[in-house]
Amino acid sequence: MAIMSFIFVFFFFSSLQPILSLYEDQVGLMDWHQQYIGKVKQAVFHTHKTGRKRVVASTEQNIIATLDLRSGEIFWRHVLGPNDVVDGIDIALGKYVITLSSGGSILRAWNLPDGQMVWESSLHGPKHSKSLLLTTNLIIEKDNSLIVFSNGRLNAVSCIDGEVLWKKDFEEESLEVQQVIQPPGSDFIYVVGFAASSQFETYKINAKNGELLKHESTAFSDRFSGEVSLVSSETVAALDSTGSILLTISFHNGKISSQQIPVSNLLEDSPGLAVIIHSSVTGIFAIKTDAATIFIRVIGEGKLEVVEKTNHETVVSDALTISEGQQAFALVQHAGSNIHLTVKPAHDWDSNLLKESIKMDQQRGFVHKVFINNYIRTDRSHGFRALIVMEDHSLLLLQQGAIVWSREDGLASIIDVTTSELPVEKAGVSVAKVELNLFEWLKGHVLKLKGTLMLATPEDIAAIQYMRLKSSEKSKMTRDHNGFRKLLIALTRAGKLFALHTGDGRIVWSHLLQSLHKSESCRQPIGLNLHQWQVPHHHALDENPSVLVVGRCGPSSDALGVLSLVDSYTGKEFSSLRLVHSVAQVIPLPYTDSTEQRLHLLIDADKHAHLYPKTPEAIDIFQSEFANVYWYSVDDDNGIIKGYALKTKCSGNVADEFCFDSRELWSIVLPSESEKIITTATRKLNEAVHTQAKLIADQDVMYKYISSNLLFVATVAPKASGEIGSVTPEESWLVVYLIDTVTGRVLHRMTHHGSQGPVQAVLSENWVVYHYFNLRAHRYEMSVIEIYDQSRADNKDVWKLVVGNHNLTSPVSSYSRAEVITKSQSYFFTHSLKAIAVTLTVKGITSKQLLIGTIGDQVLALDKRFLDPRRSVNPTQAEREEGIIPLTDSLPIIPQSYITHSLRVEGLQSIITVAAKLESTTLVFAHGLDLFFTHYAPSRTYDSLTEDFSYALLLITIVALVAAIFVTWILSQRKELQDRWR
């Protein structure tokens, strides 16, 4: 009986699943989270005497946020989503933030202190048009009102509840409304626009009830181009479509009068095409030509005067009313490594209210935008603060000639991430700035001991927690044994490269890439991706690792490519190349040269392959492997997948021994009327697989089909490529393929009828997991396909295996046509997905978990065992022992396995996993608008002591035991002696 109960207890414990979750005090030990808002598009200050001073900003990532004006911290933030573009923001009644978004069709009010939404109203109109938001202090029916022009309709909206008080349609087809103006102190509104591009129209409207008071229109001989600039409340400046004639149009009291002045009259040299810069400064407007920005003053009736001609990098702010009838605006100019901030009154160009020079980091590039705000100094004079947006999307507050705070908001738009090792710690060189001394170390351990023995006071606990969070160990600038400390190198959309320390997320260096900088030869440079160029380990340790940044000049696929090599330790760009060919694909090859530089193959739009680095050594290495290198391209527009091999040297133009022609080997043409490629997935290059065999119940073996040349392709019916629910289940299907990319062989094909995208997929080892929507069941589903090599399955003779007489480890070729079998299973899943990844460990021994980026912007870990096609409703005893979970129709979501715990990674884009040196641990980096990093151990940290292990307690226990042994020994000696004397 005792045995039976023993067995029972044993079973009970062995069947418990380890729950992977954190304790509250472990938050922040391994993980860090950073919040960003993106590139600021518009900013409005709120600096009333009461309450905290803040600034409201809308960004290109469609975020509205309020920031603390003292520190730059976020008070609150709302992400409106990719389809809800913010058109305008303002503050109304001193307590509401008003936002107009979605092409002017949604107007929302948010409570300023806490960000709660107060009201939302949708504004629809007869046609699509420009949207303009105008806050007034007009009072209509006792309500403060807003004037909104959107979708061809002028609306007056109450500030209190968002109710539309009156509306007026402008249905004329060709009318393009440019400005809505309310002259100060009046109760009428001007609506100014162009009709049929050459007719100037003004409408005077009663602001109280929307009644049309007067309508005037004048035809011009020239066509207008683009924007108009408001010069005064009844005068606008415009340019004609050739960009060479300036028009000033005044519409005082409805009467339209105009002057035309050729731009060349104002400037001596021919300026070329000019563009009006949007600004709202009274009496002055600015035009931008190829060479310069020109400020022009309007004197009296249509007389124009050039006040200043500056270089390109000059930015002007909107006008700010500083006192009754007095306006000021700010100008920011670059001079070497300094920027000059000048605040001028609108009426007098020559005098300055403020002139400051501020030293600016060269790595921030040029100023893109400036917003100003004033405050009253103690001596009653006006002080100004300026918020500037830089080329790298960072946001800085300038006040009194200094940078008060800065935010690196470029990190909200990361394109690609790679990692790099830190320098090796050298003997005698202390890299850490703050090394703990012995006393502090001892004190820390005593505190920890107190915590373990539950003797600590609340202050002690706080001190312990602080010590754990601020441990200098994790933020050192050297490599560690466990491989936890690394550099995350991130390329942002602004063309800036950041290196973040994995320990605490601080920016180690940042570098605005010169190669991705706008220039004459490269007008619209964009960064594409990052690759590890040189990862020195054995024999080239004294060299620094470096990364390869691939970019291209312009958005089209045949634009010329740009390469740049950056030192990972210092961030210095040591080499940059303007390529003479385009970049369609970058293929890192599995070969490195003697200095550990990885060979890369760049495929251009004409299907030529170019080998980098261009060294004789590289070409020698490549020649020896030449016949075994293939490449493929997936043309998702036409549904064609093609595979290529390389031919000899490029034919035609100049002899280039690093250029190779491609020869088409195979192609898979999917029928365009029934299938459209939506997703592909491949295995990660650096993924390690420990074994090729999978042990199943009853000591049986299945051999995994492990190939790095496996491609997963998902296609849907072309009709079903839209939104979920746009098609019926009968006309929608999802087809998945597993393709060998060397031979073009389709290893597996499966159709899910009545299913629809979007599909998220991840391929690892010999399995692929993908997520899609099942229209029949009205639920999301996840499927798994595992692929096994049947031709190896007869390797079952033990004696042959014992003596090693088998061919299981000999190199295999894709042309050997292995016989494969697949197993698959589908499950329901509650969430829709934004991203999916799989944990990656250094040797691939640790069991895998899927990391799922949910629609709620969190990262959920899901054990791969739940997605095992061998699951059945009633597993046998042997299968249970193997760890097979009984089949359920849906996958469980265990709340404790959210690895982002209580945090959210807003706008989650992708999840990157990197192996640490410790086999049990994966480093996980999730990025979107926010950044999140943590360590994750899929099977718990079985190979190391936990962080909170008390070494002091262990030491004290050992000392106490040794002391006890000595004491008892002495005592027993004494007793024996006494006994003998008896």
Binding site: I7, V583, P590, L601, A605, S708, Y815
Partner: protein, 179 residues
């Protein structure tokens, strides 16, 4: 502790030896008493002692067989324990299996010692010894069999391929959707 060892050691002053096994009367100064025939006594003694010795050797043989059969009971008990332990690997079954392996091995090592008390010129210990060894080997086999049923012996193909690294691939292919 041996108390007073020194006192006893030095206290042995004299001793008389009563035993006399010698058959030669000349070895002593004092002649044999009249009517005492040393030889006849010897003869009589020898018959008695032979009988005695026969009985003893019979008894020893019997005992030796008994000892040799002892592992059989053990074997049965082991079998029962193993059946109780089940076929899954856990602390209990491993403990039982290892004791089942260890007992026969230690018994086999001590074969000579086990049969030491029954060692006699006249007793044939080969049979019991062989039986003893056979039974213990049986126990050992049982233990090994149990080890195998627990899956702890590398007798399957899976035990030899579980850590085989994946085969290297000859070809390399890269690419994807153009950037």
């Amino acid at each position: 502790m041996e108390k007073g060892k020194g006192i006893m050691g030095s206290g042995r002053r004299w001793a008389v030896d009563f035993s006399d096994n010698s058959t030669a009367p000349s070895s002593r100064d004092i002649p044999d008493p009249p009517g005492f025939a040393r030889a006849s006594v010897d003869q009589d003694d020898s018959t008695v002692s032979r009988q005695k010795k026969d009985a003893e050797s019979n008894w020893k043989t019997q005992k030796a067989w008994e000892v040799a059969q002892a592992p059989f009971k053990n074997l049965l008990m082991m079998g029962f324990m193993m059946w109780m332990a089940g076929n899954t690997v856990h602390l209990f079954s491993i403990g039982i299996t290892f004791s089942a392996l260890w007992q026969p091995i230690s018994a086999l090592q001590g074969v000579g010692k086990v049969f030491e008390p029954y060692k006699d010129n006249k007793v044939d210990l080969l049979g019991p010894k062989l039986l003893f060894i056979a039974l213990n080997l049986g126990g050992l086999a049982l233990g090994v069999w149990k080890l195998n049923t627990l899956g702890l012996l590398p007798t399957h193909a899976s035990d030899w391929v579980s850590s085989l690294p994946p085969a290297q691939e000859v070809e390399y292919s890269g690419g994807g959707i153009p950037l």
